[in-house]
């Protein structure tokens, strides 16, 4: 049974017990425990179920590489699935649930898959469930979906109670990993004067060294770590962050740090995670190495653990998975586990060393303690079950004929070490195969390349290959110096002196025993979480999935949440062996960020709730909000769709606004419309290029409606242009167009006609603009002027249609334009934004006697449609040219060139069959459906019904009391009076007559009064 030891546990504080629950059971751990060590201490060896066969799973590892111990953590709006017990620090009140089982962890119905395992090899689903066809969606897939997945989804109706943030940071040298290598590299780099940031994913510093022993500068590694940390902390140019994982390395020296601020103390306030967006000149990856499991039958039974992890649990947390442990290894390091266990009073029943000649000094030390060491031996099989009971021993070189069975309650295994090369590889760093250690390590000749084409990542310590303490420290010192030098500093690679026991060469062991029979291979796990076994990889190879990517995808090897940290190399080796090839020839799969899963919340950062996106507000926004605005998002703006009164529907509000504006007077907040000042000696010439119309000839004081096209010929924006003085024009754009058209103008000025003297300034937000619209508009303005004791003459004579004037209205300094999008008498009046609300208030107050009402965008849309005015985004969609819309009058024939002119000469653009703008009227006054298409006769070559037109805008016109629409119709203007058919999606066929698009006041008298 697993338990807490009376001694050991350098990281726990036994004076501080902590209560927590696992699957509802109350348990106690200590401050400093991880959830994993606390579970172990509470005899909770069984922590979860595997993905496919639902086999019982226990802890295998002690860190981020753990594939099995995933739990659902927390409750309610702080629940999160798939949290790793090994990286979860214990806190008071922690509540964890194991995953992927039903009805319970101990008794899981899904384990039936385990019984059927023989029928469910790699890729079985590609070969099955093909017939009958509907069964895949309705029967097979739902079962597979239910049985797959891991943790429960968070509650769908709850919003995350936590917040997140980002932090931009710049440094010369970023050191990822706070083990002895990282600290050594950081120290060397920091002493050169470089600005250094050190990230450590765990709460504690020093990595494995304090567990593994040896000496540094003659003292315990722990002492050196403490002293080095103190030294680094005291340096101004160094920043140390623990609980902060180097998550990814990206192009040009960009790196992500994932800092977990409150995971160990939820609800303490402040952000939960902080994403560091780091720009480093150089990055040192001191990310250590990960021990590999051995592939023997039953290597997934709870109680089978990596040898170094078992050592971690004993030394760091005083917890052990068993009292009678068998050790199996192909290298010397596992002897350290045997020594540690022995020192902690745990019986080591046997050490099986695959090497015929065994190990070196460490082995002798173990033997000297009276522990039985057998060389050339391995595990034939661990008996299946929820915990280890019996282990069959065999010759490593054989087929698995068991020679002996021993009783044990835990197995420590070590298959050698693989450097953590993920961060080195994220951005294209290449690997080289190291035969002696049987692992891939970074190839220093092929590092990831930065913006200057030089390498920007240096691997350090065991992440770079060396495993002995002395070699690790000197490699790290060199890495620190190299990084500092590359960042422009002069560093001295002076390492601390690390001394550890010499080790005998390891022996690559990819299968135990080497010639294991198929029934053993079918129980020898490679990927514990995804249930991939040696036999699966062999099957894939046999079926022609020869590429490592094919095998990975076919078997799902390495695709689990641990991203193959334990399984990849073992899997590659089996694949290489099956193909009769060498491991380096087979190669690795691609390492993708992040190193370890990171929260979506952290990725999103601060952008949630009210700051999810900027919300742009006009000066009158709050008034609208308080007066019934039904909002419509337009880009980042919100505009009132209508001002809805109590007891009124939105539709009714729109009707009321239209009728009132046509009969009395309405106010529209037009502040969002873009206003660009274009000035310079070449401004006229420039605007002639920007617009299809001639703008250079516009007289000062006058306004002209203008069209803008893309270079591809398509209509992209429209608006009224006013000439302010000889050299200055003011261009209005659509709401969405202000920034876009400003950028468009700057682009042409800066990159094509850079010798033209033109300046553009965007003054959209300087001004609040109000459209005062309706037959009583003038009366309203005149009243305002009267109240103020004088002001701008707004009479027809003084300010005729399509002219503008500066002056004062109601005491407000303003610029007034006589322009109209509604067909009514209309003034657009611009005042400084700081006066916007006051001006609006004044208009509302003075207008009361005239029945003034604010109106929204829908009213605007209907009124313009009644007049047959086009709307960018309705009549245009990026495929429509002005000629399609009957806007030839706005296209200058005199100009040699304008943006889009050449494009409009292409064969398809001058095709007489292009659909053209018309008005549409249903025969019964009904409203045509939005977006409906008109059908012609027959079908095209692909069997689709031929279409001859479509509705571009359609409304009920309260003014006319009937449905009106505009549309684009083939040969439309020549077909006035014809009735065409628009099939609805509801089966109804709408008949509509082709009419003039101007439905209201065809002569334009009302706007010209």
């Amino acid at each position: 049974m697993s338990t807490r030891l009376a001694t050991q546990g350098r990281l726990i504080d036994r004076s501080k017990p902590i209560e927590f629950t696992f699957n509802g059971t109350r348990m106690t751990g200590y401050a400093g425990d991880t959830l994993a060590s606390a579970l172990l201490a509470n005899d909770q060896l069984l922590v979860g179920r595997s993905f496919k066969y639902h086999r019982p799973r226990g802890l295998v590892a002690s860190g981020a590489e753990e594939p099995n111990a995933l739990v659902g953590l927390g409750t309610g709006d702080r629940f999160e699935p798939n949290q790793r017990a090994t990286t979860t620090e214990l806190f008071s009140g922690l509540s964890a649930q194991s995953q992927n089982h039903w009805p319970s962890l101990e008794f899981d119905v899904g384990v039936v898959n385990n019984k059927l395992a023989r029928f469910l090899p790699a890729g079985f689903y590609y070969k099955m469930f093909i017939h009958p066809k509907p069964f895949w969606k309705h029967v097979y897939e739902p079962i597979i979906r239910k049985s797959a997945g891991l943790g429960q989804a968070p509650d769908r109706e709850l919003k995350d109670a936590d917040t997140y943030e980002h932090f931009y940071y710049f440094c010369d040298v970023l050191v990822i990993g706070g083990g002895v290598a990282g600290l050594q590299a950081a120290l060397v780099a920091a002493k050169s004067g470089a600005k250094v940031l050190v990230l450590e994913q765990n709460a504690h510093w020093g990595g494995r060294a304090p567990v593994d022993g040896g000496t540094i500068d003659g003292d315990y590694p722990e002492a050196w770590v403490e002293q080095t940390l103190a030294e680094l902390s005291a340096m101004e140019n160094v920043t140390l962050r623990n609980r902060c994982m180097g998550a990814g390395v990206y192009d040009h020296g960009y790196a992500l740090g994932y800092e977990r601020l409150t995971d160990h103390a939820p609800g303490q306030g402040g952000p939960r995670h902080r994403m560091w967006r780091i720009r480093a000149k150089q990055i040192v990856t001191a990310t250590g190495a990960i021990e590999r499991p051995l592939s023997f039958a039953g290597n997934d039974v709870p109680g089978v653990m990596l040898a170094a992890a078992m050592r971690d649990y004993v030394v760091n947390w005083g917890a052990t998975p068993g009292k009678r442990v068998l050790v199996a290894t192909n290298n010397d390091d596992a002897y350290r586990t045997a020594l540690t266990l022995h020192a902690a009073g745990i019986e080591v029943v046997r050490v099986l060393d695959t090497r015929e000649t065994g190990g070196g000094a460490l082995m002798e030390e173990v033997r000297a303690l009276g522990i039985r060491v057998e060389c050339g031996r391995g595990i034939a099989k661990v008996k299946d079950g929820k915990c280890v009971t019996r282990v069959a021993i065999c010759a490593q070189n054989g087929q698995g004929g068991a020679q002996e069975e021993v009783e044990a309650d835990a197995v420590a295994m070590s298959g050698g070490w693989s450097p953590v090369v993920h961060l080195w590889s994220h951005c294209g760093g290449k690997l080289t195969w190291d035969d002696a250690q049987a692992h891939f390590r970074p190839d220093p000749a092929r590092p990831p390349l930065g913006a200057d084409g030089a390498g920007f990542v240096v691997a350090a310590g065991s992440a770079n290959g060396p495993l002995g303490l002395g070699a690790v420290l000197s490699d790290a010192a060199e890495a620190g110096a190299k990084a500092a030098a590359a960042a422009g500093f002069k560093a001295e690679a002076k390492p601390a002196a690390g001394v550890a026991q010499d080790e005998a060469p390891m022996q690559p062991v990819w299968l135990m025993p080497a010639r294991a029979e198929i029934d053993l291979r079918m129980k020898a796990w490679l990927d514990f979480q995804n249930d991939v076994k040696v036999s699966d990889v062999q099957l894939a190879a046999r079926e022609g999935f020869e590429s490592v990517e094919h095998t990975k995808r076919y078997t799902t090897l390495g695709m689990a949440t641990d991203q193959g940290k334990l399984s990849n190399i073992n899997g590659l080796a089996v694949l290489a062996d099956s193909l009769g090839s060498e491991i380096p020839q087979v190669g690795t799969t691609t390492f993708r960020p992040p190193y370890h899963p990171i929260s979506m919340g952290a990725i999103g950062g601060e952008a949630r709730g009210e700051i999810f996106q900027p919300l742009r507000k006009t000066p009158m926004h709050d008034w609208h909000d308080a007066n019934g605005a039904d909002w419509e998002p337009v880009g980042h703006w919100r505009r009132p769709y209508a001002f809805v009164r109590a007891g009124e529907s939105v539709k009714e509000a729109v009707s009321r606004e239209i009728l009132n504006t046509r009969q009395n007077v309405g106010l529209l907040d037009a502040s969002t419309l873009g206003k660009l000042i274009v000035k310079g000696p070449d401004a006229g010439r420039f605007l002639d290029m920007m617009y299809t119309n001639m703008m250079s000839t516009l007289k000062v004081g006058k306004c002209r409606y203008g069209l803008m096209c893309s270079e591809n010929g398509f209509l992209s924006d429209d608006g009224v242009v006013a000439r302010i003085d000889e050299e200055t024009w003011l261009c209005h754009t659509t709401t969405g167009g202000a920034d876009r058209i400003h950028a468009h103008m700057e682009e042409w000025l800066q990159t094509e006609w850079w010798d033209w003297k033109v300046y553009v300034a965007n003054v959209t937000e300087q001004l609040a603009q109000v459209a005062v619209v309706g037959p009583k508009a003038r009366m309203l303005l005149e009243k305002l002027n009267a109240e103020a004791g004088g002001g701008m003459d707004v009479s027809k004579e003084a300010l005729p249609f399509m002219e503008w004037k500066d002056g004062e209205i109601g005491g407000f300094k303003c610029r007034a334009y006589r322009i109209s999008f509604s067909g009514e008498l209309s003034y657009e009046i611009a005042v400084p934004a700081s006066q916007g609300q006051a001006f609006w208030d004044a208009l509302m107050a003075a207008g009361a006697e005239f029945g003034v009402m604010p109106y929204g965008t829908e009213c605007l849309h209907v009124m313009r449609a009644e007049k047959g005015f086009i709307m960018i985004g309705d009549e245009t969609d990026g495929t429509v040219i002005p000629q399609d819309l009957g806007l030839n009058w706005a296209i200058s024939k005199k100009k040699e060139d304008f943006i889009g002119k050449r494009a409009q000469q292409r064969s398809h653009m001058v095709d007489p069959d292009r659909w053209q703008l018309v008005g549409l009227e249903t025969l019964d006054g009904a409203v045509l459906p939005d977006g409906a298409y008109a059908v012609g006769s027959g079908v095209n070559a692909n069997g689709q019904k031929n279409t001859i037109g479509r509705v571009t805008s359609t409304y009920h016109s309260p003014t006319l009391g009937k449905g009106i629409a505009m549309g684009l119709v083939k040969h439309g203007p020549k077909r006035m009076g014809e009735v065409i058919e628009f099939p609805g999606t509801d089966g109804t066929v709408y008949k509509a007559k082709i009419v003039d698009p101007v439905f209201y006041d065809k002569e334009g008298e009302k706007q010209n009064v």
């Binding site: 990206y250 192009d251 040009h252 020296g253 960009y254 720009r279 294209g428 390349l449 930065g450 913006a451 200057d452 084409g453 270079e711 591809n712 950028a743 700057e746 682009e747 800066q750 990159t751 094509e752 850079w754 040699e896 060139d897 002119k901 050449r902 494009a903 000469q905 292409r906």
Partner: protein, 109 residues
């Protein structure tokens, strides 16, 4: 995440401050050009594997357009320079030659 130095304001800007504007040094063809010329101007792009010249705008910075010479395979940046030119300046070409001898791009090499 690309990091490019804006030649106008000297800021080493990360990609989020920039707007990519496609291939550089396009010659505009307007009315009077042939169908082929106009087509190539609008649609034909070098799309090279290797050395490339492109336009960027320092959109949340000084607002200026500039040019960058960059490798599309490694993302190495050979240099940035003003947008007010119709050809890469000699020092940029030299910088590329130093790193990619024998390079060529359209009529430049």
């Amino acid at each position: 995440m690309l990091i490019l130095e804006c030649p106008y304001c000297g800021v080493k800007a990360e990609e989020t401050e920039l707007h990519a504007g496609g291939e550089a040094h396009l010659k505009r063809f307007g009315p009077g050009s042939s169908d082929d010329e106009f087509h190539d101007y609008l649609f034909m792009r070098e799309n090279p594997k290797g050395v490339h010249f492109e336009r960027w705008r320092h959109v949340t910075g000084c607002g200026k357009w500039f040019h960058a010479a960059r490798c599309t395979m490694t993302l190495e940046v050979f240099g940035t320079y003003t947008a007010q030119t119709s050809a890469p300046p000699q020092e940029i070409r030299d910088a590329i030659t130093a790193k990619r001898p024998g390079w060529s791009w359209r009529e430049f090499e």
